[in-house]
Symmetry: D2
Subunit: 339 residues, 4 copies
């Protein structure tokens, strides 16, 4: 990986976030998902006799040939990112190129791709969270009987145990696990409903009576349930639900990290986060043990806490059969990884 340090780079590009999560939110992966959707569309259309099987096969053959720089050059001219990808894909697939995107509107591709990508991201988060919960379970066991003085209002109050305190954090995280799992299971794509959700172009190609079966086949193929009713896009309420659940997780981690920072303060001095051997504490006071991971968690969680409001705004202002005023900020914020 070579990065250009002479331009702005998001810290998520190189400082925070796991490589897996970053790859998921790369241009390449997004375009791979777009192409997968075009291919699935063509394959199901082939089942319905709308395109030739060889055309669909040709598309599948060239599916992996994502070429971002070439596509951006096209986009610079036509100012439409998905259409640029389509043109490049079409040029790569001599047989199938002509039937790409048949009956579709951009959002039949982009929006389903987003749903798939969000689901993949939630799966990563849930996997991480499962591990964290198991760690907590072990620690709760280990320290079940270790006494401590519980604090209310930051005042020593009554005895409790370390295991019990840890169980509180674990219970919070379990609530997050439940709400994230509910959201993940309920995730739906837009399906293939065209420019205003009425499926008009597909109806013209297939006849109205075949519409439902056609969409069902695509849903099977993509292993993605679809919304019954949509506008040009799936209801942005869904993003709000996703981000609210993620921010809830951020809140649990925030509380844990903040408590850790209080407990690592030497006058209390009960906990401390690990400290690397070569790690430098402070340029002026190298003896200090600063809880920098906990501070980082607090800092990122605080950022995350503001995102549900943005998703709310996008949902609330998607005027009539949709506007695009969610697009730019979704590009900036769908990439969220709290662990």
């Amino acid at each position: 990986m070579s990065l250009d340090y002479d331009t702005y780079l998001s810290p998520f590009t190189w400082r925070y976030g796991s490589p897996t999560m970053r790859r998921l939110w790369s241009e390449v992966h997004k375009r791979r998902l777009w192409r997968q959707l075009w291919v699935s569309l063509a394959e199901v259309q082939a089942e319905y006799g709308l395109v030739q099987p060889e055309q669909a096969a040709d598309l599948r053959l060239h599916m992996e040939e994502v070429d971002v720089p070439r596509t951006l050059a096209v986009e610079a001219e036509i100012q439409h990112d998905l259409m640029a990808e389509l043109k490049v894909f079409a040029a790569q697939a001599p047989l199938g190129g002509g039937i790409l995107h048949l009956g579709a509107t951009s959002m039949d591709i982009e929006d389903n791709a987003d749903a798939l990508r969000i689901r993949q991201a939630l799966d990563l988060v849930l996997t991480g969270l499962r591990g964290l919960l198991l760690d907590f379970a072990r620690q709760v066991e280990t320290w079940a009987e270790t006494p401590l003085i519980a604090f209310t209002h930051l005042q020593p109050a009554e005895p409790s145990t370390l295991g019990y305190r840890l169980a509180g954090y674990a219970q919070d995280l379990l609530m997050d696990w439940e709400s994230l799992s509910t959201v993940r299971l309920g995730l739906r794509g837009k399906g293939f409903k065209g420019a205003v959700g009425s499926s008009a172009a597909y109806a013209e190609l297939l006849g109205v009576e075949k519409l439902a079966g056609f969409e069902e086949r695509l849903s099977e193929e993509l292993e993605l349930p679809f919304f019954t009713v949509t506008t040009q896009v799936y209801p942005r309420k869904q993003d709000y639900a996703v981000v609210s659940a993620l921010a809830g997780l951020g809140g649990s981690l925030y509380k844990f990290a903040f408590d850790l920072r209080l407990l690592q303060s030497p006058p209390v001095g009960e906990w401390a986060e690990p400290f690397g051997k070569k790690q430098v504490g402070s340029s002026a006071m190298p003896f200090k043990r600063n809880p920098i991971s906990a501070e980082k968690v607090n800092s990122l969680a605080r950022l995350l806490a503001g995102l549900p409001r943005l998703a709310w705004d996008n949902a609330a202002h998607s005027l009539l059969e949709r506007t695009l005023d969610d697009s730019a900020n979704r590009r900036l914020t769908l990439f969220v990884e709290p662990i």
Copy 2:
């Protein structure tokens, strides 16, 4: 009802909100719930032989004698609202007064009362929402075939039907119904776990081995599940979940109301909200038909949209076994009624 117009009165006191919802969030109702919790506690303690049945009965006898002005006079002196209520209740119940609050900490009373009250409020909202969904269902039927031009980017795009457009709003509200129902069913109280959640005082009274059964009896009595682990209070994450779901509903109503306002604009002129016969449109332009209900919905929903962040903050900053920095703003914002 007489109001003092010479002081500040929240518009929720007299302008917005239903009388039922207002009563639910009155001082009187809150104190009635506190007393109900004290009485249930005494009754279950009587079952365990900790207090005399007559004492519990005496408390039940005087349970309804809430006297806010008298209590506030006591509070002015001791600066603790629940203890003030307790003193007044104790003075009213000569037999039972002495055993009130046995083993309890304030939050064993307040926090369970809040959970009960939030549940009652959610039930009101869900009842309203059920009615609204049925209305939508009827309208979707009625206008299923009525054609219209759908708008994307506020540009006329392709034909759709009015019923289909309405079905979109209904689907949004159904998602809210589901998330509010989930939240409502999952609502838990703190239970009776004392100052730091360790149940120490109750354990001393009952013996550790009877603790679980004792709390279970109270949970049955109050028909309220309890959290397994708590600090002095139930995890404030729960408030975040409640308020996020309510704000989600606010977002759906916002979108509907905003669309209505666009459609009521004469250049489009498709919809209009009802207008009373004697209603005055504008002091300068009485001919105008302003969508004032829709504007009101937008305005209140916008306020509601900011509240999840506050609940998040309260949850994230409930340091160690709790701090009180959620108290003042919860007093101000738990009263939420979006319909």
Copy 3:
């Protein structure tokens, strides 16, 4: 004052906020300001020969007869609060009633009244803040040389002095003083520009060439500068500036209160807030010294922190020459008093 405890009452009505601030935000005071604006309008119109001096005088005579219950009865019928007040005022003033509101639109009255009221509220806040700054100045002096260990990352770091630490809070508050003073000095009313800001109705009455002088006279009379350009209302950006500055003050107080809570924690034990003799600490642990005032400040400041976003939304969504979707939430949130 008699309050109805059987309905919802905002804690600002009786628990938080000073009596002076509450009176400022009462229905009575608002209506008094409306009437003052009507009277000033009539008096300046009398100067221009548009109404009889006796008519203006009659209005001034009945200006103080605000009768909220009677007005609300009228509003219930016509659903327009300012027009209801106008009808009641007109009925009270037999001579002047007929020329009330001449050439005006509702917002010529309401919006200027809001500007006046916000200014009065800012003056209250600034007076309180001045006192607080003087207190800090004295404390900085007193403790200038008292040594303490400064904490970074909640770790003891290097020596400093108490006076220096206090000077940091004072400098924060001084920044707030400056930004609040700037905002207060810059406050402008809408002036008298009619339904869409074009002053059409006044131009018809006076002739275009007299418009500027007429508005200037009103500005003098009310001691309130006006915006040069408005829509039906003054730009809601102004509210954003006010609330942002107030939230800034809330942030400074929050930091101070949070630090105090940390320092009052017995393991550190450096500071403590005053504790009343009869004050009750905790129902279960009466020995504890909880920093309840600091917690209250944190709680309310956290609420305040969310309000700039609401003001931003109102400003950003005041479509074309205005919509009313700011109204309901401004009724709920213009009342802000952080001290």
Copy 4:
């Protein structure tokens, strides 16, 4: 510039934002500012006889040799970004390397660099805004007499002129200009006050009596005023002021763009944004003229609107003499460019 499309890239890296602004927020530029601060510190220390002039000169000689990959390799080991830069710089400057950072704490370097960088960014924004205001001024002139029907509540209300409507947006932007200019002029750096703001290490090197003069020389050298009192960092309130003013500008642009979108809707059809010849409107409906620039402005402004809250949180939670929980989110959000 070569970008790695296989990882996450912020849209600000390649889609939104100007090249100049991106360079300002690059790793290279940040490190250049750090080095400039180290050099200025050494030069002023040379004036005070603390270091040799040749040492300072050697540092200036190697100031431009920023080498990000090499530095990141060091950081990977010691987990401290500024200390890594220092090590690399020191290795490059054989004579001066040893006296680098004399008496300083990391934040004496980083925090002043941030203040400088924020100021440069504000200057870019102000330059852009000045151009925009001049454009508006011209348009207001041009269309001063062009009649239109003003809309209130999205209802046609009364006549106005296009020039007057445009003057309203211009007045909004002028208010932003004023508040951004005030913020820009008031920007202060931390100065050189060491780990807790007490200037202890410098006092040891120079003697207390020379401290003020020493800092003044640095302030002159850097053309940057300093705060009188700081903790380890400058008060984070300053960030809140900066971001609030920027969000205010975002709000004005949002209103303008939203109005444009309403006016570009064919039923009104008054305005339209430019549309490129080869631009593609919609994959399904190529005839449409979507206001994509206005939608983009709305989308980004909506994101910006949430950032003051984050800055508030950072300011309010900078516990005692500072914590680091602002760091990660400031890295993510200080890069803001609304035009």
